[in-house]
């Protein structure tokens, strides 16, 4: 399988260009800062008395969601920056000529690129999230309800935006593809909030807009799945009492992502990946 050569090249480039090192250092800085922040939560007092344990957990879970939102955002940005020039860069520089003249098909080439990028996304998302969760646990003994599901959702979010950027990379230069991918990512995020507002005001039209953006680019839907995995039961109960209005809050999810959505995302990634193969097949390097 010659795609494997390509996948290893993707990872090797990330390592050689010190991308992995930069991400590791940044992650350690963020983890250190937030770790310090978490360690301060028990020192908060209310009318001179320390907070009850339950309340500390709620604050910790909120702070963790916020931190992880930043992580997922950095992950999406990094995935776009690395994926968007992945194929177009090879074509523009001429590197692709030497490689594609070898006994390797376009599909294998795109598959290799995707696999290498997917490994990078998984390594970074899995690694960074695991370190952060471990530090939070060590500092104040808080573990979110479903850490593994959370990591899986964040990785899936990274894979979705990476696959989109790779598709764009078969046709557009890295800069253009990257900007488009990020704008779509932002639209999906806002779409999630808009859909929440629609639900809050019982407005079917607005709700549909939210649902549509969620389906066109499922990053925000996945983010909600990730948030849900971080929320303690008590918090969800409180949220559902606040009614549908809380659905507009991008740091809150009232329900788990249904299995159908997860399957939809798998299908979405497969479809976009297939389009990338077809698109690159028709391109002449």
């Amino acid at each position: 399988m010659r795609g494997l050569v390509i996948a290893r090249l993707v990872i090797r480039e990330a390592a050689r260009r010190r991308l992995l090192l930069a991400l590791l250092i940044l992650t350690l800085i963020v983890v250190t800062l937030t770790g310090w922040g978490f360690s301060r939560i028990p020192t908060i007092t209310q009318r001179g008395a320390p907070l009850p344990d339950v309340q500390i957990k709620v604050i910790a879970s909120q702070f963790l969601i916020l931190t992880m939102f930043m992580f997922s955002f950095v992950l999406a940005m990094a995935a776009v920056f690395v994926a968007a020039p992945q194929i177009s860069g090879d074509v523009e520089s001429g590197t692709a000529l030497a490689i594609l003249s070898r006994p390797i098909g376009r599909a294998e080439y795109v598959t290799g690129k995707w696999a290498g990028l997917a490994a990078l996304v998984a390594i970074y998302a899995g690694g960074a999230a695991a370190i952060e969760l471990g530090v939070v646990n060590a500092v104040i003994g808080y573990v979110p309800p479903e850490p593994l599901a959370f990591i899986a959702f964040v990785i899936a979010e990274g894979l979705v935006i990476m696959t989109l950027a790779l598709l764009l990379s078969t046709r557009l230069s890295g800069m253009v593809g990257g900007v488009i991918a990020l704008v779509l990512f932002g639209i999906a995020w806002i779409g999630g909030i808009v859909g929440g507002i629609g639900a809050a005001f019982d407005n079917a039209g607005i709700t549909h807009v939210g649902t549509a953006t969620k389906l066109i680019l499922p990053t925000d839907g996945l983010w909600r799945g990730a948030v849900y995995a971080l929320e303690p039961q008590s918090f969800i109960a409180a949220g559902s009492q606040a009614g549908p209005a809380s659905a507009a809050n991008p740091f809150y999810a009232s329900s788990a992502a249904p299995l159908s959505f997860e399957l939809y995302v798998a299908g979405w990634v497969a479809l976009v990946f297939g389009l990338a193969v077809l698109s690159f097949r028709a391109r002449e390097p």
Binding site: T95, I99, R102
Partner: protein, 308 residues
């Protein structure tokens, strides 16, 4: 020329980019073991032809066979490419790898037996003169060194067919000489070489056969002897009667250069007949000079000639 199956064959292979015809109906056959020169000015369609042969671009029409595999059969063509080396005109290799690592990547892409990698890489590095810099990052290489690396990549695994697109564009005279030596060594080894070039000297010195291309068309194909056999003769003569020139056209293509009359494409053994014919038409002959055309003259005269 050998009588083995052709290494490359094309039939009316054509490529259009919108209104631009990059290649217009290329039909040719290159016997295995030949060094074939594809010669033409910039924009003639040389790179396009090579890209079509390598499956990097899709023909608009026509068909081609590389080592027997048709371009239209993607799987067969892909397999055949394991035995094809290519130095692109736009040569660029991963700048964050060393030359040795680039060559390893290509060994793996060809599917070369792992046990042979080190020997093959050492060989290739030695041939192109990069052995001492093999472990430096390609990003720090000069253009010429990168082109040498590209040549090394093309030679890797002793392919049956090597396509070189302007292989000396970034090289100094020593480098050009080295490339000629490499091509001669390839020929000695029985490798078929397809050499794209706009440099006549390059082609002249190493190629068995040459196709002259311009504006997407092959103007002439043949051995260098065949292309050069069309010799010319210069005659200084006065007093040829009006209309007398018409009778001389049967000897070849006439051209006036001051007092001199140039007759192109005349066979050497017809020169005495030509002189007699001039005299019969009232001409007084002062000098007759055979002129062997260089490939360059031939090339220019072919390009100038209006085509149907």
């Amino acid at each position: 020329m050998s009588d083995a199956a052709p290494a490359i064959r094309t039939e009316e292979l054509a490529k259009r980019y919108g209104k631009i015809t990059a290649l217009a109906g290329l039909t040719m056959s290159i016997p295995a073991g030949d060094v074939f020169g594809f010669l033409g000015p910039n924009g003639a369609g040389k790179t396009t032809a090579v890209k079509l042969l390598l499956g990097l671009a899709k023909p608009t029409s026509g068909e081609g066979w590389v080592l027997g595999a048709p371009l239209s059969d993607r799987a067969a063509h892909r397999r055949a490419r394991a035995d094809v080396g290519y130095l692109p005109e736009l040569f660029r290799y991963q700048p964050w790898l060393s030359a040795r690592e680039v060559l390893r990547v290509h060994c793996e892409l060809i599917g070369l037996d792992r046990a042979r990698w080190d020997a093959e890489i050492k060989d290739a590095l030695g041939i192109v003169g990069l052995a001492e810099r093999a472990d430096d990052r390609v990003g720090g290489y000069s253009k010429g060194m990168q082109q040498r690396l590209g040549l090394g990549v093309a030679l890797l695994g002793r392919p049956a067919l090597v396509l070189l697109d302007e292989p000396t564009s970034a090289l100094d005279p020593v480098g050009r000489h080295d490339v000629r030596e490499v091509i001669r060594a390839l020929k000695a080894r029985g490798t078929t070489v397809f050499l794209n070039s706009h440099l006549l000297t390059e082609v002249e010195q190493v190629c068995d056969r040459v196709a002259i291309v311009d504006k997407g068309r092959v103007i002439q194909v043949g051995t260098l002897d065949e292309l050069l056999r069309a010799d010319a003769v210069r005659v200084r003569a006065t007093g040829i009667a009006n209309g007398g020139y018409d009778g001389l056209r049967s000897f070849g293509e006439l051209q006036h250069e001051g007092e001199w009359l140039v007759i192109r494409g005349i066979a050497q053994d017809r020169v005495p007949d030509l002189v007699r014919a001039i005299v019969e038409r009232g001409g007084r002959v002062y000098a007759v000079e055979p002129r062997h055309e260089s490939l360059e003259d031939r090339f220019l005269s072919l390009l100038e000639k209006p085509r149907p």
